[in-house]
Symmetry: C2
């Protein structure tokens, strides 16, 4: 489970290497009826330029789509590299077995009706896995839509892919997002390297797809649509390897109740709450996005534009509204729109009408001199060294002219619009040449690919967005990826040896049928691993309480402790701020009275500090163990300022996590208090994260509050909960 511990990435062959590059394909389920899904898949293979051989299987037809059809797998003249199965669910397993026998090593199972269909479907799906293991035939799906390998002109989906090779890789648990959206993507100039519809992830799963796209040289950014992950630690390990050198973005839709229910019935995925996926993505260096549009648009930006090397963005426009909107949005995304130096403004001035703003934003004001907007101003700005990237709004030509044409055609004697366009000056090549500065460019235009500027930009990898704020947001995503790249490389997690006394405590507790360690035991166990907890002693009499004052120092805290005592404060079982031996003895007696029986009492010196945090360990079905950190004390729930990470976690990653809380300024020097010792705090979280490995019987740990005394964190309360049966 915890494969990321002390393990180097394994040199193994990803099953998608073979599956994405077949030289021969057999398809079962294609016919001569173009309304059948199998036929659509076969047509995409045939029409979109696949160079290898396609062998249709058909029980009756002699030819399918003009190709000789075969009645059975046995009759195939070759061992096909890959099989595509688009047959009824009841026939899939037998057919997969025939291909296994034949020696085929890859399959795509389009057919639905497996793991997403309850117990019976899960059994059917398990049979596919059994066949896969027996014959070494690796498969995608079931319940998927296929693949695209644009460089190989291989399209195994149901819609045409016509955009040519690009650099964005996509893996999706929704088939729609790899095929029904293709016309939409073509209209937006979005180009893929490889596309993988993973469906139910019975065999090849999202982690495999991520690993494959991560290693694929043609893929410069990876986009993931996720409904739920099968193996969180493996996904995390792979993602962490990739994200330092290649951007990965993801949309996750299983975080709400309805999203989880829908994901279960769609792909049989077990979902987990949003905050856990937030933590997973942060830990993995994956940029989380929240809509399929963002996934496509910003993925395309990341894949086709150079990285951003600083925060300074130049805004170039022919209209004040989009200029203001882009400037405003850029700053919100953490970028800067620096006022240009007088020298740069001086150089820009001759290109602009008198009084036009040139201090950044540069606003050409309404003008049809698109060469100035799209080429001459950007040249000067990019050459200045004053920006790290630019956004441009308003470059347009044929789209504008065609839209306006109905109004002015009579003024030009109804000359055809194409003739007008041919006579107009044209400098798209110059506009494209600004890419040579190697700085990211995002364009915003109200004109789609009907406009020759929009089409040319998109065809040359300069994304054009249909609103100014989206171009700004795309730069914001580049900035977020810059922060991922700047992360320290992951540190291997080294496990301390298992503490025998801790193990003994847990075994005894389990043997006694108890569900949790009490506060004193919990602290004792954690102290053995170096978690800073209150130094405390058990006292059993007023006299021992008095002695504790001398041993521990004042003011003292006394607390009843026992595994079955909860809500101590409300029941009068806690006394804080005891300032003398007399008060201590008296408080001990009062606690016994409040308890109504003799209860053990723990004593510790009151920990003084105004900053309180909470650290914890939780375990979530479908996700696994996670650690939690947040604001603690009485306002914990009201402020809900907590962050999560999958366990285990290095202390270095725990440090990063700590800074993710909203109120992170509390961690620095604050109102006369010293900066928190972040290393100590991170070490607590790191140690909690190791507990499920060291002691698998531990389900949950709650340290609340962890008070910062001076600069040092001390866990003042602790609870360890054990796993049930």
């Amino acid at each position: 489970m915890f494969s990321c511990i002390l393990k180097e990435p394994q040199a193994m062959t990803n099953p998608l290497h073979h599956l994405m590059n077949p030289s021969s394909i057999a398809i079962a389920g294609a016919s001569n009826n173009f309304m059948k899904m199998g036929t659509m898949h076969a047509l995409s293979i045939l029409k979109d330029g696949f160079k290898g051989e396609l062998y249709p299987l058909h029980p009756k037809e002699k030819t399918v789509l003009g190709l000789k059809a075969y009645g059975s797998v046995e009759e195939l003249p070759v061992v096909p590299d890959m099989a595509i199965l688009v047959v009824p669910a009841s026939q899939v397993a037998d057919l997969l077995e025939r291909f296994g026998e034949k020696g085929t090593k890859s399959a795509i199972i389009i057919t639905a009706g497996f793991g997403e269909m309850g117990d019976e479907g899960r059994r059917m799906q398990e049979r596919l896995n059994e066949i896969s293991r027996r014959y070494g035939i690796r498969f995608l799906g079931p319940n998927c839509m296929g693949i695209i390998n644009s460089a190989a002109s291989l399209n195994v989906t149901v819609m045409p892919y016509a955009m040519g090779p690009g650099s964005l890789g996509l893996a999706s648990q929704s088939g729609t997002y790899v095929t029904q959206s293709l016309p939409y993507l073509a209209k937006r100039g979005i180009r893929f390297s490889k596309v993988v519809s993973v469906g139910n992830c019975a065999d090849i799963d999202l982690a495999d797809a991520l690993e494959y796209l991560g290693e694929d040289d043609a893929t410069r950014a990876v986009a993931l649509y996720i409904e739920g992950l099968r193996d969180v630690p493996r996904f995390l390990e792979i993602a962490r390897r990739i994200t330092s050198s290649k951007p990965v973005i993801a949309q996750y839709v299983g975080g709400s109740a309805a999203g989880a229910r829908s994901s279960l019935s769609h792909t049989g995925s077990l979902a987990a709450p949003d905050h856990l996926y937030d933590g997973l993505f942060r830990q993995a260096g994956i940029i989380r996005l929240h809509s399929i549009e963002e996934l496509y648009l910003f993925g395309n930006m990341l894949a086709h534009q150079p990285p951003l090397e600083g925060r300074r963005i130049g805004v170039i426009t022919n209209s004040g509204g989009p200029g203001s909107a882009m400037a405003n949005a850029l700053e919100k995304y953490g970028l800067e729109v620096p006022r240009f130096t007088p020298e740069l403004q001086e150089k820009l001035r001759p290109l602009l009408p008198p009084h036009a703003p040139c201090g950044n934003p540069v606003d050409l004001t309404f003008s049809l001199e698109i060469d100035i907007l799209s080429h001459r101003i950007p040249e000067v700005v990019l050459a200045s060294g004053e920006v790290d990237g630019i956004v441009i709004h308003g470059a347009m030509r044929s789209g504008f002219v065609k839209e306006a044409y109905p109004h002015f055609r009579e003024l030009i004697n109804n000359e055809p619009v194409d003739k007008i366009l041919a006579a107009m000056p044209m400098s798209i090549d110059k506009a494209l040449s600004i890419a040579r500065y190697g700085k990211p460019i995002a364009v915003s235009s109200f004109y789609d690919r009907d406009d020759d500027y929009t089409a040319a930009y998109q065809d040359h990898g300069i994304p054009v967005f249909d609103a100014p704020e989206k171009a700004a947001a795309a730069m914001g995503i580049l900035l977020r990826y810059r922060e991922v790249r700047k992360r320290k490389p992951p540190k291997p997690i080294s496990l301390p040896s298992i503490d025998a006394e801790a193990a003994r405590m847990l075994s005894e507790c389990l043997a006694a049928g108890r569900k949790n360690l009490d506060e004193h035991e919990s602290k004792a166990l954690l102290r053995r691993y170096g978690v800073p907890v209150t130094e405390e002693i058990l006292v059993r009499s007023p006299e021992e309480a008095e002695e504790a004052c001398a041993r521990l120092g004042l003011p003292l805290v006394l607390k009843a402790t026992a595994a079955n005592i909860t809500h101590k404060t409300g029941k009068g079982l806690v006394r804080v701020g005891l300032a003398s031996r007399i008060q201590a003895a008296q408080a001990f007696a009062e606690i016994q009275e409040a308890a109504g029986r003799a209860v053990p009492v723990i004593a510790y010196r009151k920990v003084e500090g105004e900053r309180e945090f909470v650290c914890g360990l939780i375990d979530t079905p479908g996700f696994g163990p996670s650690v939690m950190f947040g604001l603690g004390g009485i306002f914990t729930e009201a402020l809900a300022d907590t962050v999560f990470r999958p366990a285990p976690l290095s202390d270095q990653d725990a440090e990063e996590m700590i800074h993710d809380i909203r109120a992170h300024t509390l961690l620095g020097p604050f109102r006369g208090m010293p900066a928190v010792n972040i290393q100590s705090l991170a070490r607590i979280i790191h140690l909690l994260s190791l507990m499920p490995i060291l002691h698998p019987s531990i389900a949950e740990i709650d340290l609340n509050p962890v008070i910062i005394e001076g600069a040092e964190p001390v866990a003042v309360d602790a609870l360890i909960v054990l796993k049930g049966d």
Copy 2:
């Protein structure tokens, strides 16, 4: 300035009533050169169906665009209802004066180069206002792009408007957003009632446009693009009147440094920080959006769909991914995706393939039976009474067929695609008929208006979004507007009479050249208006400190006070928790010593409470006075949980404001503490908000902390800052 106080809305004629409905128009700046902006304006008027007379003015031409041209205003054969000026800036004022003399009452000044151009431009703009006042000629602009009145087929912009009459009204400080975006809007089926480009707002401003669109029966929702407001209180008063019965949405881009700089150079607008506009919009009932795309898309949704009467949304799709994404997004926006009852599922079952999910989302799975998806399932779901609205993904026909056609054309002997389409079953009318349930519908499709379903939906007022999450977000906006509609009607604000003693204190302070009242004075002034502050006395000797213990109760707080003493705590000038007369006397002496001189000291009983807030009054250039409320105490800055509202504010509105903080659960019963007396807290904010009216010399008030003792708020520290010269 505070026009909303005790004043009924005035029955006045909005200048746009006249300007938007001219029966005759004169235009200066149009010629026979179609590349000139004035010509483009004239062409839009002529070509898009204006029914009245158009009179071009031209110094040389005899005819312009086939119409008789006039050499001067004097020569015009009639008094035109409206003049459009697209001439060089230097000629605008004289020409406006000529029209004023002629008797024209409305003008649109397209020309730029006025208030956005520094001092000289501002002077030129002021001259326009002077002419306007002298002749009673009201004008839009300068530096604007014109208007559209779709019902009157009047288009005074530079691009064709071809979508026909709609119900969305738009007022914009960016001309681009009312004209360059028209082709973009046409492709998305977005239809306007009226459009107003306000430009520099020299005369007719955004508030006028909002008022006009609010009163306009053809307009069912109002969208505003804002760079900065000229008169915040007037805008607020008008907006508040409108939003209870008509949705208003707004984008504001002046909130960042670069946004503010750009707005100033674009329209000469003075911007203010985002959080003030957040407060203004909340107070006004305006829904704030953050991109022009949201403004258009969600404005169109609000304008053309019925209101949402509950939170329950049905999700109907032919694809699991969009279904999961919509369900997940809907819940994030506060909507519910309720699991359908077994009875409803039973009714849906026969419409779906075996095992297809029908519990909500309803997932038909990939299917070309669009009538089931778009009509039969929605009918059953809407008739059930189990939902308040529906979202649909995947309804498509001609778009899909045309995209797939290149792949299958040979299979059908290259029959033309139109023939295929003509032979396919067609039931768009039935799909549209579900609108009769009167519940909001949002559609998501990857097909644009090339698809006949998309076009038909849009033409009948059912918005089609190009991504599932946008359809969900549109429902979320309807929910936000539902919350605006449910607000209590605004309560008139009644002013208390001016307290003579308070006025005297302020005059004395001003006369002495002081910049602020000290803590004791500040509290004394506020107490006179009923703000709950600590009951305190000034002590000037150790003996008086001892007496204070008896008079005020223990534990006592002693604090040095003087207008020029700040950061008291750090300097040892504050002593809290004094538990006896002896401690009080000693603390008094220590404070004197720490001050190094004899200082007055205030004494009050320590206010006990764990919940601390901050209340304040601030004054911002370009915006005016605002009140602030937020979490207080030592974590104020770290948590940054504060909200703002423009002053003045009724106590009712202050209550609403208080609940806007993130940590609002602190206000209820909390960890054994009683619920905060919200009325008392609201009254404090209400009273602070009145101070600039009662005492115009007050610039700022800071109450930090306001501690909740039991249920009651008490201001424990207070500072009143006076206006400078």
